[in-house]
């Protein structure tokens, strides 16, 4: 069935978008640091995975933990940098990370040259001939990984004490300080987790799309869109937001043609922002225990 196939494609695309957005959303939610160098960090993770696969013949699945580790370290460095930034925090981090994005882009250009690279995925798709559907391993991986990431994040945030502290910081930084939460440490943890999530997205980005030093703006934009789409600090909303975006884009390409894709996404986003500024999921009552 055509529409089922369309749905699968849209969902896997949406999961991919959500993966790209996770790290950004967590960091932005907890620390309000607007990280415009997000895409470049994903590319770094991607390049790391690419070299691991190409020169050390590491099986793809193992690149994920390695990149997560690597990007966690990079994220800590980023946090140290952003700690130096003074208020107004949101705006200044935006500009500082803009500069950082330029720096990283050119460092990658010098180190890796402008050639395109990608991690090939050569496996043939699984064919569900009964329904005339195709689904590839990459698509499955995207969906599964994003689901796992969402569930883990959700469990972390809802079921652990650390998660509670993080949520408190997201909701109201001042009040969190008042109740004794070590806000600085929360920021560090947010960056660590965010870095791990970026490291998760890097190899998958290299496989689903391609790597080019100047290609960091796309993932950054996707991350920003989905974070705000989902509402700041709502992790399940990110996956849902990714899916909604994926479905919207696929539908618009199908019905209107590829040239109108961005317009539809933009209109959808604006409508959502105007009508439901707190994000896709309904706002829970504030004092829910």
């Amino acid at each position: 069935m055509i529409f089922l196939q369309l749905l699968i494609n849209a969902l896997s695309l949406g999961s991919f978008y959500a993966l790209v957005a996770f790290g950004f959303a967590l960091i932005f939610g907890v620390t309000h640091a607007f990280n415009l160098a997000h895409g470049e960090l994903i590319l770094l993770g991607g390049y790391l995975a690419y070299f691991l696969v190409k020169y050390w013949q590491l099986p793809f699945i193992w690149t994920l933990p390695v990149c997560m580790l690597g990007l966690t370290m990079a994220a800590v460095l980023l946090q140290k940098l952003l700690q130096q930034v003074q208020p107004p925090y949101e705006l200044n981090t935006l500009v500082v990370t803009f500069g950082l994005a330029l720096v990283l882009q050119n460092v990658m250009l010098i180190l890796f040259s402008a050639n395109y690279r990608l991690i090939p995925s050569v496996e043939l798709p699984f064919e569900l001939t009964k329904f005339a559907l195709n689904i590839t391993e990459a698509q499955v991986m995207d969906i599964v990984v994003s689901l796992v990431a969402t569930i883990s994040l959700h469990l972390l945030l809802r079921k652990t004490f650390l998660g509670k502290a993080l949520r408190a910081t997201i909701q109201n930084r001042e009040a969190a300080k008042l109740v004794g939460i070590h806000v600085r440490r929360m920021s560090l943890i947010a960056f660590l987790l965010g870095g791990a999530l970026i490291g998760l997205a890097g190899p998958l980005y290299a496989r689903t799309a391609y790597l080019q030093p100047a290609g960091g703006t796309e993932p950054t934009l996707i991350a920003i869109v989905i974070t705000i789409f989902a509402g700041v600090g709502r992790t399940r909303g990110i996956l849902l937001g990714g899916w909604v975006l994926g479905v919207a884009e696929s539908l618009s390409v199908y019905l209107l043609g590829s040239g109108w894709r961005e317009l539809v996404s933009a209109v959808l986003l604006i409508l959502l922002l105007i009508l439901q500024p707190q994000g896709l999921l309904p706002q829970r009552a504030r004092w829910l225990g």
Partner: protein, 416 residues
Amino acid sequence: MAAQRSKAISSLANRPLWTCLAVLIVLTPILWRGPMPWLPTAAAGGAIRIGEVDPLTGKLANHGQEIHEGILYAVNEVNAQGGLAGLKVELISRDDQSQPEVAINQTEDLLYREKVLGLVGGYVDSLVGPVSELAAKHRTPYVASASLQSRLTQGRDNAYFFRVAHLKGIVEPLCRFVVEVLQPRRVSILYANTPGSTELGAEVRACLEKANIEVPIFEKFRSGLPDFSTFLLKLRQARVDTLISGGFFADHLVLVRQLKEQNVPLRAYLGPWGIAYPEFIETMGAASEGLLGMCAWNPDITLPGTEVESRNFVERFAAAFGKTPNTTNMHGYVSAKALLLAIAAVLKSGHELTGENIAKELRTVNLVTPMEHLAFDENGDPQHYRQTVVQIQKGRLVAIYPPDRASAGFMAPSGP
């Protein structure tokens, strides 16, 4: 902080005395690059200076650098043979960052401050156009390496603009190939939102419709799109058997991969840009088998009679740059060679080395290169530029059309 604030409050009118001073101090080293009488003028003091403006950074970086390498190779080749009439050739390269206003700035610098004798290079028409206008104003010849659109030569009276490639040289062979060899039932055309690709798409569609071939899907996409799966779904539904994709290297990477993943039954996938590169085969691996592309030259695909020159080029280029040259390198090489040849002719004839004379010599250039038999017409277009259609067979690029350049036939994909 509070003390500072009260101090500041009481100062009422805060004349930023230091602001002006700081501005002057910072700006002075930037601004004081005033008249420099010690700058050498072109060809005086023993060097022939030519300028190059290419996108060395930014989105088009890898193509710009390839053209740069080709030009550099040409200059080094000439210098290794003793230069032009004993004078060394100096290449001044500038980066236009893939932005027109930077291209304009850098061109002006090359023309007015560095006083180059000729310009070469350039990748897309939005960058080449402004450069060509400036060059004409300054009466300096400009040989563009990779300009394609017709608007740069039609209806414009620019005696100083020349180029070694044009879109007609791609569209004509493409169209004839599709009509004569492929004979498809339905063709779909996908083009990128750049001017060159848009024009290609429009021209190819017009040509195919004239030959009564149906084009059910004609779509524009924005380069950088990581997902074509919905588009491919539409292709499958429309039962198209040939896809002409006016995207670039990166787009093919994603599109072809998704094509294979979705198992879309296509008889032919043709990408005029980006496919006919050994790197493409290397990056894509087995998935590139059977794809069609177009190129003006490749290490094994060269103008009949130029095999020796082509081999020498490949060997020496690989020795100099550590990699096999591709068609973009060759475009840079040919454009630089044409310019240098014209300068050499002017020197030999004993006329003054001015832009007008070089341009006049360029008009009469008749150079056989591995890429084409180079001769410019009155608009500056190359008269004999025709690309060949190639197919990736068993991991190598094989020319399959036109028949006089073909070394193999078109292999339709086997299987269901």
